[in-house]
Structure formats: C-alpha cells, structure tokens
Symmetry: C2
C-alpha cells in the first residue's frame, strides 16, 4: 500500500531555521522609530530578549534551533506532508496535491512554531512572565502552551468581544495555565483609559496589543511576544518549509506551486521561503517555482495596498515598517478567517512581493468555505477558515491543470483545523455568510493620512 | 534526539482484526431474542449486512481488513504511540508511560475505526443509506465521515438536548454531508408517539436508537450502525492494540499494564484484547500483563453491576445480552464523559471480567479532570473527558511505581481530544463540576425488574 502521508522521525526535525533576509536582492528597509530614525536594538530591549532582537535584525542565512526547542517540537513535529489523493480524484486533475498539516500541534495551528522558541529565548534571558494579545485565540493559546512547557507565567489580553463570544479558546489557554483577561482591562493605564471613555467598548486588537506591551515594558521580569508580522516570527516558521523539503526529497518530488494563506505572513513565509531559498541558491528544481500568497478579498493588503511605511498596530505604538498596507486604521470586515484580518503584511514578504519574487491573489470568503467543505469531504480534516483560503487556490490551480493536462505538483499549507471555528461553518451552511467588497475609497483616505517616513 | 513518538508507515496498518472470541476460556453466551431463544442471523438481516452479522457471531481469531478500508485508514492511521516523557518527569516516576493517540482521526476519536468498516460492508451489500443515533456526537460524526468517504447517505438521530446544546458536533456531521435530526423527530412512528406524549421532551439515547432502527428496518436500501457494545465493533477496534504491539516491537518493550476508559467497551477492548491474545497464546512477555478497564464511579457497570441478561438499549428493542449491567432503565447522572454513560458493557468484555481475565476500577469525575489537566500541561494534548478516566488510573499506577521503585511500562488509550468538550473544562475550572454517588438501591430495584432469560 502506497503511503500518502510522508512522515519524518524526531531526529529529522531541522537543526537550523532559514532566514530569507540573507537572500534578498536588496537590503531590507529598516523599521523607523518615533524619532524618524531607524530603530536601534536597545529600543526593543524593554520588551524583547537579546536573542529575539538579534534574529529580528539578522542577515544570517541559517540560525540554530536550540536543542530544548527541538525537544518540545517533537511533541507533535515533524508534521506530516500528505498527498490529497482523494481530492485529486474528486477533481479529476492530473496535478499532484500535497498539504503540510500544521493542525497536529496541541494548539491546532502553526502558531506554536514561534511561540515555543519565543518562550525559550525569554526564559534564557531570565524572563519569568510573558504578555501577549489575542483576538480569536490562536496565538494566545499557542503562547499559553509554550509558556506552560517552559514553566513561565503567561498573561493574555483577549479582545473583549472574543473573550465573551469565543469561550473555548479561552478555556484552552486556562487549561494550559495562562491568565486570560478581557481587554480593555483595568490592569493597565491604556485599559483603564479606554474603559473610562467607552465603558461598554467591544475592545480591539490594537488596544489589547497596547495593554500587553504596556505591562511588559513596565516590568523587568516580563516581556512581550508577538505571533506574526515580525522577521523573527517568519524565521521561526521556516521549519514548516524545511521539513516539507525533506519530505519531498524522500519521494523524489519538488513542488511547482506553493500556496498558503497570508495575513501577517507567518504561515505563507513559513512554508514558501525555504523553497525560495533553493531558487536563490540556483537549485534547478526551483527555477520555475511559483509561490502564491492568498489573502481575503475583504482585506487585500498585498493585492490592493500600498508599499509604504506604516505602523504595525492600529494604535501607532510600534515602529513604522515598510510594507504593503491598507492603512493601520483600516478595520477589516468581520470575516471568519480572523487570522487574516490584518491591515499590513510582513516586511520580508512585502519586499519579496515588491521585487516580483512571490505572487499574491485575493479570494472572497464564500468561495474559500466551498473549497474547505469539498476538502473535508474528501480528506476528512475540517480546515480552519484561514486554511480554506489556500485550499481554494490550490483547487483552482489543480482545475487549471485539468484544462491544460499539466501534472503539476502543488503544495499548500494546511495551517490548522477548524474545531474552534464550527460556528463559521454554521453560518456558511445556513447561508448567512457574506462576501465583502473592498472599500477602495476608504482605504485611499486612510493611506493618505499616513506620515511620510523613509 | 531520541524519538518519543513511535510511528508506523501506511504499509504497516494491520491486515487482519483480532477477535478475542476465539480465545475465550468458555463459549460466549448467545444473545436472546424476544421469543426467549438465541438470536438467529436472519433476525439481524433487516438492519445489518451479512459481513457484519458474520463478524458479530464469528469465533475466528483473525478477520481480514478489506483493502478499501485500509486505504481510508491511511488518512490518519497508523496512529502514533507516544511516550509521555514530560509527564513521567513531572510525576518523578521510574515507570515508562505510553499512550496510543486516537485523537488524530478527523472525527477526533477512535470511533471511525468501526464506522469506516461498517460503512464499507454495508456498501458492499448494496446498501445506500445508514441511520444511527448519537448523544454528544462522537459516533454520529464518525459515521458521517465514513459515509461521506464511501459516498453513502447518513442520517443521524441526535438526542434533542444535545442537538440544541452541542451545535458544533452537529455542524461537523453536516460538514461531512450527513442529515442530522433532533430526536424525537416526526420522521418515525416512535418519534411521533414520543412527541405526542411529551411535546417538550429532551429526548434520550434509547428513543434515538429506536428511531434509527425503525427507519432502517422499514427501508430496503437502509441499514443501521452502532458504535459500541456489539462484538463486531470490538473486533474493529482491535486495530488500536494491533498497531500498538508493532510499535512496542520497534522499541523492544512490552506493556506491563494497559489502561483504557470503558463504557460500552470499544476503546478498552480495542487496545487491550490483542495483548490478551498474546497471553492466551502463551507469550512469555504477556504472562503478568494486567488490563484495567476504567469506568466512572457514577456509572459502574463492571464494578457494581450484575452479570446477567439485559437489553442493550433503554427501550428494550434489542436482543438481550449477557453482560454486566446496572439495568437498562438506569439513567446515569449527567457526567461529562458522555461516551461512558452506558448502563451495561460489551458481552465479550463482561465475560472476560467475569472469568477474572481483566480488571476494572471506578473513578470519580473530578479526579479524572485533575488528571486530564495535569496531562495537558505536560504533553500539550487536551484530552476528552472519557480519556481522562484512563489518564487518572495511569497516573495512579505510575505514582505507585514511584513508591515501589518499579519501572513498569504503562500503556493507556488516549481515545480522543477534548476540543468539543471545552465546556466541561469550563465547569471544572469554575468549580461547578460534581462527583456523583452510585445510587445503589435504585439500581437493585432496576435489576430486580429484569426478565429472567438464559
């Protein structure tokens, strides 16, 4: 019986992360501080440990994964590479469709790939507590898990509306020992101010970030951890693509097209960049490789945003980063792929897109759920709404192959399962799910307001 | 780096199921029909296909797993055998603790191990539709998945109170294309009668079974499928233990103690019986093997029930089976391990227990959640409430080893994840979870009412 799940042993967990910054055609644009000058490492030291700051600014191609981190990873890694033979048959395509399944982590997504090293490097630096924010709870639960595994306290500021409407992710965090507070809270100045102004505010991710950063900046034993966008997160996530390369080697194949959902950029960067590294190194197999970032048409930062300096958060607390952005004031419609509701995109990916090295496509919400349900009915796994974006485009690519007769090898990132997103499927089945138009004028207005930097 | 997850390749999926009926010290007591005589195969033909009836009555030791079933299994099987090194360290025990993780199936439990072959054998017999009942939804979702994978229609009668209170499992079934109806429904005579009598009834598993059986018995294209208790289900689940044996072979170990939750008996039988088969065959390694069935102290059929003939369902529609039972009218308290709320126990396991070949222990609910949370904080995976029963006893065994200094090898069945049970964890953390006393007098009364058969 032919194997459709390509597995690796624990000793095959990669020993080094790949950092695409080493292979960029031009030097990356530096983040800019409030003084209008490039951010210095010491400015980040109030909330990040030295190793993370070094990774954030590193141009080294390979960065060692500490043994302690790899030992935690073997609780669920290497994750399987799976050939979707039943989906291929249902589509009648000559294409070979593979997915890397990151939903096998205890938190159910790829997010622990960065939460674990972030907790580790903080612990190494003598930090005892971590703060973070979370919306729907994917990142918060991953950091809760990571903190627990290293014996660190974790405090999560969870956007009030999610805290109240999505109790199961909150309970997951509590099961892993984290403290979870509804944000805005009365634990921080930012929170108290927000509550005083609007007592019944639903909260926002921007506010929750501000609360987490304020607490971390004000306590010597406490740091802050972020789950996407930043360079070190993209570096950590490269483990996905590095494993996938080993798995393709085992079966003597190499992908022609790589597809992944793209919000802040950690899942797309994670799977695609190690293969683009092959391309940069002149690997013949990667010569014609296409890497396609899939974003929601309601939040199309790469396909309709501007490549400019903008804040990473909605409140303007972070340094400004050069990236594709819809403007930091942009409030994406309430689509169900909460992990893709971000106004910008990772600096590294933005630069690669700007230089024409990766592609991007925007897809409407309903079509992604169509694809997710078709996938679940063939392969069993019920995908997270974010992952459905990649499935949509992978299926479209496979159907194009059916037209042209090409037997392409397609790889997509199945970033997580949808066990905590069944209410989204409920809305889909009941016909309540909507597509959203891109509010072009509004975004142009938001972008016009941006300070000019760099 | 030492591997703590022992994996098998697709070609190592067992080719045959193990049937403990071949190794019983005395012939099994036959099920009795409404006429007081042993049930004949043809009496089952209205709702089961020939292959299933044959398996139900078979005394053959090995039963071939069809290639088509094994091909579906490789979507998630072989499931990993995992050494819980972090739990061992936290307990400070010299024991080696292993778990077989069945939560990797798309439905999140071991139930698809029987749902898939049941769908297959029905399809082979020309059946187009399957009916079943479900309480919390573990079995219903597994059959929905299996039906979808073989292109069959599945109709699930879901107990009304669960249908209304647990929408996510229902949505899972719908995602896999099943029709789900609140039971009692107006689709069957049984349902209409129940609704006429008590319009706002919360429903019951007994009623839902009756509806599913009535529909299957009345339509030539439709059969019925049951997820536990019956012999063929226990046979199908043997794949768990058979894989575990191969995995232990790879690392040169053999378990001293096997622990699993026990309701109807499919998960305990699934993991333990193939090892007991070794014992029956005179395998030296299995000489001192102990197999411990763990039941809730609120529903202690093995430890406090009577070994006698009783109905399999609460309405008295099924044949009578010789088993440990609390009486078919017994309504277990509303504990959170819904899969263990069954008044009886599989005939095969009951006989093994009666003959002293397996052990049983009853544990209170709160202690099982204590164990589940401890496990989650060490190993990451958040276990289903049913699985927490096995974890409790595995931890207790490991702690005894700490006292005695014995380095025993403990294996438990991690039957599923708790992603759809987070509301139970909520009650645990908020202190609302209760332990229940065994209502001894009530059960004696229920048992006294049983008709005497056999």
């Amino acid at each position: 019986m032919e194997s459709t799940r390509i597995l690796l042993e624990a000793h095959e967990i990669p020993t080094h992360w790949y950092n695409v910054a080493a292979d960029l055609p031009s030097p990356p644009a530096p983040p800019m501080g409030p003084d209008g000058a490039p951010v210095k490492p010491e400015q980040l030291a109030a909330i990040f440990p030295p190793a993370i700051i070094e990774q954030e600014m590193s141009a080294q191609r390979w960065i060692e994964i500490p043994q302690e981190v790899r030992e935690i990873f073997r609780l669920w890694r290497p994750s399987p590479l799976v050939r979707a033979v039943r989906l291929e048959a249902a589509l009648g395509t000559p294409a070979k469709i593979f997915f890397k399944y990151e939903g096998v982590s205890p938190a159910g997504s790829h997010k622990p790939n960065s939460a674990v090293p972030q907790a580790y490097f903080n612990k190494q630096a003598g930090i005892k507590r971590l703060t973070t924010e979370t919306g729907a709870g994917q990142w918060g639960s991953s950091l809760a898990l990571a903190g627990q595994l290293f014996g660190m306290e974790v405090r999560v500021y969870m956007v009030k509306v999610s805290y109240e409407q999505k109790p199961y992710r909150r309970l997951m965090m509590q099961t892993w020992g984290a403290e979870v507070f509804s944000s805005p809270s009365n634990l921080t100045q930012t929170g108290r101010k927000a509550l005083a102004e609007i007592p019944d505010t639903p909260g926002s991710l921007g506010l929750a970030i501000s609360e987490a950063v304020e607490e971390a900046a004000g306590r010597a034993d406490t740091n802050y951890a972020l789950g996407s966008v930043l360079n070190h997160v993209v570096v950590h996530q490269s483990i996905i693509g590095l494993e996938a390369k080993k798995q393709f080697d085992k079966i003597g194949l190499y992908p022609d097209v790589i597809v992944a959902p793209c919000g802040g950029g950690s899942s797309f960067g994670g799977i695609a960049l190690p293969f683009l590294g092959d391309k940069a190194a002149g690997d013949k197999r990667a010569e014609k490789l296409r890497a396609v970032a899939v974003e929601p048409s309601s939040c199309p930062s790469l396909t309709k945003g501007l490549y400019t300096y903008d804040f990473g958060d909605s409140s303007g607390f972070t340094p400004m980063m050069k990236m594709y952005t819809l403007g930091h004031d942009f409030v994406p419609p309430g689509i169900h792929a909460g992990g893709l509701r971000y106004h910008g995109c990772s600096q590294l990916l933005s630069q690669l897109y700007h230089e024409g090295l990766i592609e991007a496509v925007a897809v409407p919400q309903l079509a992604t759920f169509d694809a997710g349900v078709q996938f679940a009915r063939c392969e069993g796994i019920i995908p997270a709404p974010e992952s459905c974006h990649a499935i949509r485009v992978a299926i479209d690519e496979a159907l194009r192959c059916k037209q042209t007769g090409e037997a392409k090898t397609i790889l997509f990132n199945l970033t997580g399962h949808g066990h905590f997103d069944m209410s989204s499927y409920e809305r889909y089945f009941s016909g309540e799910l909507e597509d959203f138009d891109y509010p072009a004028e509004e975004v142009q207005k938001l972008l016009a307001k941006l300070p000019k930097v760099g």
